[in-house]
Symmetry: C2
Subunit: 222 residues, 2 copies
DNA sequence: AGGAATAGTGAGTGATTACTCACTCTTGTA
DNA sequence: TACAAGAGTGAGTAATCACTCACTATTCCT
């Protein structure tokens, strides 16, 4: 039944796989240059002339492939939003709920590890998305829709599953989700964006973060 | 001894109190209009002509008080950065460490409550600061300096104090700080910026957030 | 090989930009 | 009251902006 309403999501993600479909070499260079300039200066302060210059292309070439500058932005930031939530749509994620012996910590560790890697590989794209989402209504709507659809249909189910199992406290799922997202985003923002040179053992850092999320920072006697 | 090196910080905050010093009525209107336009469109997409129009002022008047558009931005965003960290410099905060009977949860609740209120009252200003910090090196440097100075001299001391007391786990203070900031920022961003219409009992929400930070989301049996 | 579609070009365009400047108006002081 | 200093003005300016278009180069199908 989920496959009916979420078909568009699956389609969306499938389209992301072959997004290198039929692109000219120059068009690829335009996208690469746009990512550079957008992430460095922000969308509004980025000029099409600089993008063209960095791509080694005439300015008119940009507008052959993209109607407007905003079009170029959306063609870049849109897919990032989808990829950001992609792992929560994978089959493995749904199947996971059928494995009652799977421990929450393994589950959380896997997600954090995966999204940390994703953030590292896509720093500039994420920066562009986060920066422009408040000013581009289309982007905001897309992100909100992706997030709510995924959360209510998948993640919330997973939370309730683990709660029934006794692995998670019986608190409202949205609070569990918010705490987890806060902790994970905080960790990723710190290590990837704020202090990328801060030395750390990735596996241990993941484990400690999940441990704090699960058991808190209070002392033992409590 | 802290009073020597941190004199500049104290001075900075004192200057914020009487920042309404000798300002013309039109100058105040310019600042108000600038806050509006900057937060709506972003600094780069905001035009001085629109700011002047909204302030009911000639465009030249802006440049009588501010050398450049960037000057106007910095005069707005700079003080916000300082006010953001201000409560961690208050005398009460330092004195708190001399009260061994004070419980961590009361401490955390007070901070969260205070910063939540601050965020509500200064939504637009915070939005401007967060949005422009990555693109204005002066702002970034100021925020980093404020944060590190405050953290190492005050908050870290507080964490170690509570650890010695047995109220907090013996984990590296920076990890305690990161977890706390993550959880608090996540809570504030959700309630103030993402879902301001989401109905909630503020006091209970504060209590539940602090409880999750202290004791985690794991089920009792563990 | 031929011809149509698509990719690429770059000079040109009107609109908008941040900022200037010569000027007037207001305010405080002696 | 006289006068200096600052506040306020708005037309003006050079630069830059996103975007267009008439044209050429390349690719692709038959």
């Amino acid at each position: 039944m989920t496959d009916e309403k979420e078909q568009w999501l699956v389609d969306l993600l499938r389209r992301l796989e072959d997004d290198d479909g039929k692109k000219t070499e120059k068009q690829i260079r335009i996208i690469e240059a746009a990512v550079e300039v957008f992430s460095e200066k922000g969308f509004a302060a980025a000029s099409t002339s600089e993008i063209a210059q960095r791509a080694g292309v005439a300015e008119g070439t940009i507008f052959r492939h993209y109607k407007t500058k905003k079009d170029l932005l959306l063609s870049i930031a849109g897919p990032v939003a989808a990829k950001l939530f992609a792992p929560f749509l994978m089959r493995d994620f749904a199947r996971l709920l059928e494995l009652p012996y799977d421990r929450v910590e393994d589950f959380l560790r896997a997600i954090l590890r995966d999204r940390l890697e994703f953030a590292r590989k896509n720093m500039k794209l994420i920066k562009i998305l986060v920066h422009e989402v408040p000013f581009q209504p289309e982007l905001l709507a897309q992100v909100k829709e992706l997030f709510t659809h995924i959360v209510v249909t998948r993640v919330e189910k997973a939370v309730k599953h683990f709660q029934a199992q006794g692995a998670l406290k019986e608190i409202p799922p949205w609070r569990v989700i918010r705490s987890t997202v806060s902790q994970f985003v905080g960790m990723i923002v710190f290590h990837v964006f704020l202090a990328p040179d801060f030395p750390f053992d990735e596996e241990e850092e993941i484990e400690r973060t999940v441990d704090i999320l699960l058991h808190g920072i209070a002392g033992r006697p409590s």
